[in-house]
């Protein structure tokens, strides 16, 4: 079903999406918030610029954005997939606990902070370009991959992985990664490390028409939590 979002406020738009049967195509989207929040079995394709909190609490639905998205995409998402053909704003995938987000372009500050995993629930974010500071801050689980395509410098801002205690962050770069916080161990990714991300590189490449094998050949850093009690005396003597 096609919906023109022009002159609809977010409530009206979401009611129409909810009422629609089958796949939904939204046109003329200008900043309507909360699209697809908590949705299970639908595919929503958006033309234009969806507003903040796109796909928050998503629970199995598919969302495709043919353009850029704004802040807080996939906030606390549980399941499903969000595909963004442009850029994403700040706090992408905040506190995600399942499902996957693929961004062709860049993402903003605080990408994937507070993500967590449990048993078979493992959230995944793949960003094609660069991300801002505080990537994966307080990461407790899940997987973040930053591909740095077309980026000449290290494709992450300051303080990636600060406070991380679970999960993995992969960064594709030929540059040296320096200045990381004490809670992080950074290593050049081994073949074994890479096996964790290969399926998602393939998915990313399929989505955006790229070559996964070529992408996988380059140098990746992997950031893991430092298990040697890095939090000792971070706040108080213990």
């Amino acid at each position: 079903m096609n919906i023109s979002a022009r002159n609809l406020n977010f409530k009206q738009l979401n009611e129409q999406i909810k009422a629609a049967t089958g796949d939904v195509f939204i046109d003329d989207c200008f900043g309507q918030r909360f699209i697809g929040n908590g949705f299970k079995g639908k595919t929503i394709t958006i033309y234009g610029t969806p507003g903040n909190a796109l796909g928050a609490y998503l629970d199995g639905a598919n969302i495709i954005v043919q353009g850029n998205a704004q802040d807080a995409v996939g906030d606390t998402m549980n399941d499903g997939r969000i595909v963004i053909h442009g850029n994403a704003g700040d706090a992408l995938g905040y506190a995600m606990r399942g499902g996957s987000i693929f961004v062709r372009g860049n993402a903003g500050y605080r990408t994937g902070i507070h993500m967590k995993q449990y048993k078979y629930k493992k959230p995944v974010i793949v960003v094609g370009g660069k991300v801002g500071s505080f990537l994966g801050e307080y990461l407790a689980g899940g997987l973040i991959v930053v591909l740095g395509m077309g980026i000449e410098v290290v494709p992450v801002g300051n303080f990636p992985g600060t406070g991380m205690h679970g999960g993995r962050i992969f960064i594709r770069t030929s540059k040296e990664l320096t200045g990381l916080p004490a809670q992080v161990i950074e290593e050049i990714a081994s073949d074994e490390d890479m096996s964790e991300i290969l399926p998602f590189l393939s998915e990313f490449a399929d989505l955006f028409g790229m070559n996964a094998e070529k992408l996988a050949k380059d140098q990746y850093y992997v950031l893991k939590p430092n298990t040697k009690n890095p939090y000792k005396q971070l706040y108080t003597a213990n």
């Binding site: 406020n9 200008f30 300051n158």
Partner: protein, 362 residues
């Protein structure tokens, strides 16, 4: 109830656009842009700053004044007549809008300081005007000068920005630069004077966020003769920008490096030359650092600066198309007026975007 009498323990929307060629456009575009972000504000304040709108009076200070009643108008006009040559005065044209209520008297004066008064004060002209603005705002009960620059003006009220724009007939003004604000006041109840933009001389500020260093910054700026009367952080931002840029002669990029200074650990990793500059600015102007979330647009004669706090705790997007530069809290607010941008990006925290009219020196 007015601003400054009560403090309620913020969200907002900002938008701005500038034509670098100096070509003037109507206020319609910024009005459409800010209205897309309706849900970011709550109807308790909004406003616009417009630059290049008074070319026929460009050599005169344009004072926009709110009066509670005709007695306050009379007292204020007496003061103005003692200090200024008033070239023209009129009510600011408005149209009746159902949802815009409790309007004060809203007047506009084009003035120039009386040469004898100015000479006797031994102040430069802009300082003289700024001092007069503070004098009115603190001493004349019921009078509030909310705009005091040349060839620019602030238009603000309580309500949603799209209604306020129609109230002030913004579409009838033509300028090369506009900024806009939709307010969601968090610390104060929302009064006409407390709406954004805040302005002093040609500097105007619209702000989304909440400065947690507000009181430290306020005490600092009051030591230099500024009077903060409204308990709002944006008032303090405006005065600190005026202090750093006009009084201390810092450039806008230096001003940004003071108010959104990088962390010491970031400075440590800079090249020696850059490190020296940042260490100097942080040491000398430590009390002018703002902590807490903000995204601001600073309008000034001939340009516009956009800046995020160093942690980038508020969103801000910049778009370009030809000579036009657009900045807004949300990309959708830019796309609605220009769907085909040649470039769109989000500046990093603490990284100013400074746009000037073509040919203007930095």
């Amino acid at each position: 109830m007015k601003e400054g009498q009560i403090r309620i323990p913020s969200g907002c929307a900002i938008s701005g656009l500038i034509d670098k060629s100096g070509k003037r456009m109507s206020g319609e575009a910024v009005l459409r842009s800010i209205s897309v972000m309706h849900d970011r504000s709550n109807g308790l304040g909004g406003g616009f700053a417009a630059y290049g709108i008074y070319p026929e009076y460009k050599d005169f200070y344009a004072l926009h004044i709110f009066y509670d009643n005709s007695a306050s108008k009379k007292s204020c006009e007496e003061f103005l007549e003692q200090h200024f040559d008033i070239i023209n005065l009129s009510k600011i044209p408005t149209r009746k809008i159902k949802v815009i209520t409790e309007e004060p008297l809203i007047w506009r004066y084009f003035v120039t300081p009386l040469p004898t008064k100015l000479g006797g004060s031994q102040l430069d002209e802009r300082e003289f005007v700024a001092k007069c603005v503070f004098r009115v705002n603190t001493r004349i009960d019921g009078a509030y000068i909310f705009s005091s620059g040349k060839n620019m003006g602030v238009f603000k009220a309580v309500g949603y920005p799209e209604d306020i724009g129609r109230f002030y007939r913004l579409e009838e003004y033509e300028g090369y630069c506009f900024t806009a604000h939709g307010r969601y006041p968090t610390n104060t109840p929302g009064w006409w004077g407390g709406a954004h933009p805040f302005a002093l001389l040609d500097y105007s500020v619209v702000h989304n966020g909440e400065i947690s260093s507000y009181d430290a910054n306020r005490r600092t700026i009051e030591m230099y003769g500024y009077k903060c009367t409204l308990q709002t952080d944006t008032e303090v931002i405006t005065y600190i920008v005026d202090y750093l840029h006009r009084k201390k002669g810092l450039t806008f990029s230096e001003t940004a490096a003071v108010i959104a200074a990088p962390f010491w650990q970031t400075i440590e990793r800079m090249t020696p030359e850059k490190r020296e500059t940042h260490e100097y600015l942080r040491n000398v102007f430590s009390a002018q650092l703002f902590t807490g979330p903000f995204s601001i647009l600073v309008g000034f004669e001939g340009g516009l600066m956009a800046l995020n706090d160093r942690l980038k705790l508020r969103s801000m997007v910049v778009g370009e198309k030809g000579d036009l530069v657009y900045i807004a809290s949300e990309e959708a607010a830019i796309r609605i007026i220009e769907p085909n941008l040649s470039r769109v990006w989000s500046p990093m925290g603490g990284e100013p975007v400074i746009v000037r009219l073509n040919g203007d020196e930095v």
